[in-house]
């Protein structure tokens, strides 16, 4: 009996690439989806901590304090932001998320002593009420932006870009533009939103400097002004943000999530968070601004280990978006038939753009939203944040730190050559940092 020949796949045209080309041939438009970059990228897993040993002593758990507090916006603001934990909730719009999700984020953040951030749709009452410390984004679209909300924000965040799509604008598809969303954004209902990718009234850091002045004038210099960039030319961008007058800089790596963006954008634009952190810190150090202009890092932060590695490289805080949604139930093993109806399954879902989120997070549909009760969501997220904080403290104590921000690059070593080069941390077992000798 002759053996069947084994089937031979093409590495250049594997099944998912074939499927995508067939889909493009059918539909004539790029694939739009939610979530962040799904492909394998160098990330914090490739760095490990050098815990205590003979030469370095650990702190006892619980009794010997490891402090986690951080102050953001000390450069110019009269009222900087004091956080109990160095983890904030990243900007996600009402529109991409439902009201229950925004409320859950606010409640959890407040109970943990940290901040949430509005997104590309403006500030909702629910979020302002539920979130004690709220950062208000100023985006290219300016949907819903108004001086009353500016004045009741605790900080402003001028968004130049985000990690999922540096150089792209906001996107919300028609089925998520309900009456409420439409009113907030001054758009007709049910249309596909087209957004600007540049701000309407400034272009370039020289003009941004004047824009930041305007925001300070309107808020009487009370509150911090953040500048957020997607990670691309991080060294230049951080230096320019400092020169434009930012109090805080947010750098969002390519793993950063979105509710709706072209897949090619998510997967092929921007650099991973790992090199972005190091580049941002170096730029701040060169200007003598490290710790004076605070750095918040986001883009695929998943655990206390990731957070601590970002701190060791020099970040002042981390921000979570996708991870917060996962805590709220994203990709959880519930309502499995609804995942299937979308053509996906728990663990694989990136269908935020459809507005049919099976667990009620990224939807405007009232029935689906019921699946996420704000109190339950808040409890989940609070638990997750508490876990992250415990992890942060455990690892920091093991490295002998009484404050998590005392972690430094020398507490780390790299497991791969790429991670060593990107983070400028030696390859484990060697003194070698690739690329260091130009």
């Amino acid at each position: 009996m002759s053996q069947e020949k084994s089937l031979r796949p093409s590495a250049t045209f594997p099944q998912n690439v074939l499927d995508e080309i067939h889909r493009a041939a059918d539909e004539g438009i790029y694939e739009i989806r939610g979530f962040g970059a799904k492909r394998t990228l160098p990330n914090f897993d490739d760095l490990v901590f050098l815990g205590a040993s003979m030469s370095r002593y650990p702190l006892e758990g619980y009794r010997e304090k490891c402090a986690t507090n951080v102050v953001l916006g000390t450069r110019y603001a009269k009222r900087p932001i004091e956080l109990k934990i160095p983890i904030t909730i990243a900007g996600m719009s009402f529109g991409s998320l439902g009201a229950h999700a925004k409320e859950a984020l606010g409640r959890a953040a407040t109970s943990m002593g940290t901040s949430t951030t509005t997104g590309d749709g403006g500030m909702t009452e629910e979020e302002r009420q539920s979130s004690k410390t709220l950062v208000y984004q100023v985006l290219p679209s300016r949907y819903g932006l108004n001086p009353d909300d500016v004045r009741r924000a605790d900080a402003l965040e001028v968004v130049v870009g985000q990690g999922a799509k540096p150089g792209g604008g906001g996107m919300l598809l028609g089925h998520k533009i309900t009456q409420r969303v439409a009113e907030m954004r001054d758009l007709p209902q049910e249309i596909d939103q087209r957004s600007a990718c540049r701000h309407p009234d400034w272009t370039g850091p020289d003009d941004l400097e004047i824009k930041i002045q305007e925001l300070r004038e309107i808020t009487d210099f009370e509150i911090p002004i953040y500048v957020k960039v997607g990670a691309t030319r991080v060294s230049y961008d951080v230096a320019l943000a400092v020169k434009s007058g930012a109090d805080v800089i947010v750098v969002d790596g390519m793993q950063g999530g979105t509710a709706a963006t072209q897949d090619v954008f998510i997967e092929h634009v921007g650099i991973p968070t790992l090199p972005a952190v190091r580049m941002a810190v170096e730029a701040l150090q060169e200007l003598g601004m490290h710790r004076k202009v605070q750095l918040i890092v986001s883009g695929g932060i998943r655990s206390g280990a990731d957070a601590d590695k970002a701190f060791a490289l020099g970040a002042d805080a981390v921000s979570i978006g996708s991870a917060a949604m996962v805590a709220l139930g994203c990709n959880r093993d519930l309502y499995v038939e609804d995942y299937a109806a979308l053509g996906t399954a728990p663990g694989y879902c990136h269908h935020c753009h459809t507005g049919r989120c099976p667990v009620g997070i990224t939807t405007q549909d009232a029935d689906l939203e019921e699946r996420l009760r704000p109190e339950q969501g808040a409890r989940w997220l609070r638990n997750y944040l508490s876990t992250m904080v415990l992890e942060i403290q455990t690892l920091a104590r093991a490295c002998g730190k009484t404050h998590v921000l005392n972690l430094e690059p020398e507490d780390l070593t790299a497991l791969t050559i790429e991670a060593a080069a990107m983070a400028k941390v030696p390859l484990a077992g060697t003194n070698w940092i690739p690329g260091n000798n130009k």
């Binding site: 539909e27 004539g28 438009i29 679209s141 300016r142 949907y143 932006l145 108004n146 001086p147 009353d148 500016v150 004045r151 028609g174 001054d186 758009l187 007709p188 249309i191 596909d192 087209r194 957004s195 600007a196 309407p200 009234d201 400034w202 003009d207 004047i210 824009k211 002045q213 305007e214 004038e217 309107i218 808020t219 009487d220 210099f221």
Partner: protein, 223 residues
């Protein structure tokens, strides 16, 4: 009447004062092209500025009447919520950018991107406007008594544009539309309110063809 002389007083002091003033009149002299003058006002004060201003004059204006007896730099009355801002000279780029309400009147010309991203403001320009005006304009009215530059109303949503003079190349999805008696009437009222001498019958109307509202492959090259 309170007076501020910006050759000796600071813009900061002026704005702080304006933010704490519930009503009344205020005059500003020697603005010297400075930025952020009279921004963030949220009370019905009457501010008169004698000279040329820089960027973002009357930014995020709410309820106030602001008159600029000179030219305005980029972003005049950006994000205006209500009230009236009048520029007696010319306005630079982005005049009235993302404005949500109120009225911006420009007695001279406005430069590029007049009314960009507008969300409900009424902008009336006695002169001409530059290219890319009313780009991504969502709501509100832009009235141009002179000419409009190229790419007028590119990617426009539901905002309404009236032009009396010549229009260059129209932007994506922007088309000429019928001037009904309703439109003439509403335009006449708006012009009368601004005191600009122009007859509503002489204007043409432009707005969205609405072909880009939901993606359709046949319109792909409009993106």
């Amino acid at each position: 009447m309170t007076a501020f002389d910006l050759s000796s007083d600071t813009v900061r002091a002026l704005n702080q004062h304006l933010h704490q003033t519930p009503s009344g009149e205020l005059s500003v002299t020697n603005p010297g092209g400075r930025h952020c003058i009279a921004c963030g006002i949220d009370s019905p004060v009457d501010v008169s500025i004698d000279g040329h201003v820089g960027y973002y004059c009357a930014g995020m204006n709410k309820d106030a009447q602001v008159t600029i007896r000179g030219n305005a730099g980029p972003g005049v009355a950006e994000n205006i919520m209500s009230g009236t801002v009048r520029v007696q000279g010319n306005a630079s780029q982005y005049a009235g950018a993302s404005g949500q309400g109120g009225t911006l009147i420009i007695d001279g010309d406005a430069s590029a991107r007049c009314g960009i991203s507008m969300k409900g403001v009424d902008i009336v320009v006695a002169g001409s406007v530059g290219h890319m005006s009313a780009f991504l304009a969502q709501k509100g009215r832009l009235v141009v008594c002179g000419d409009a530059g190229d790419f007028l109303g590119d990617s426009i949503y539901e905002a309404c544009i009236y032009v009396r003079g010549k229009v260059g190349e129209l932007g994506a999805d922007c088309i000429e539309k019928e001037m009904t008696t309703e439109h003439v009437k509403s335009l006449r009222q708006l012009l009368a309110a601004t005191g600009i001498d122009a007859s509503a019958d002489e204007f043409r109307r432009y707005g969205s063809a609405r072909k880009l509202y939901n993606f359709n492959i046949d319109h792909a090259d409009a993106y």
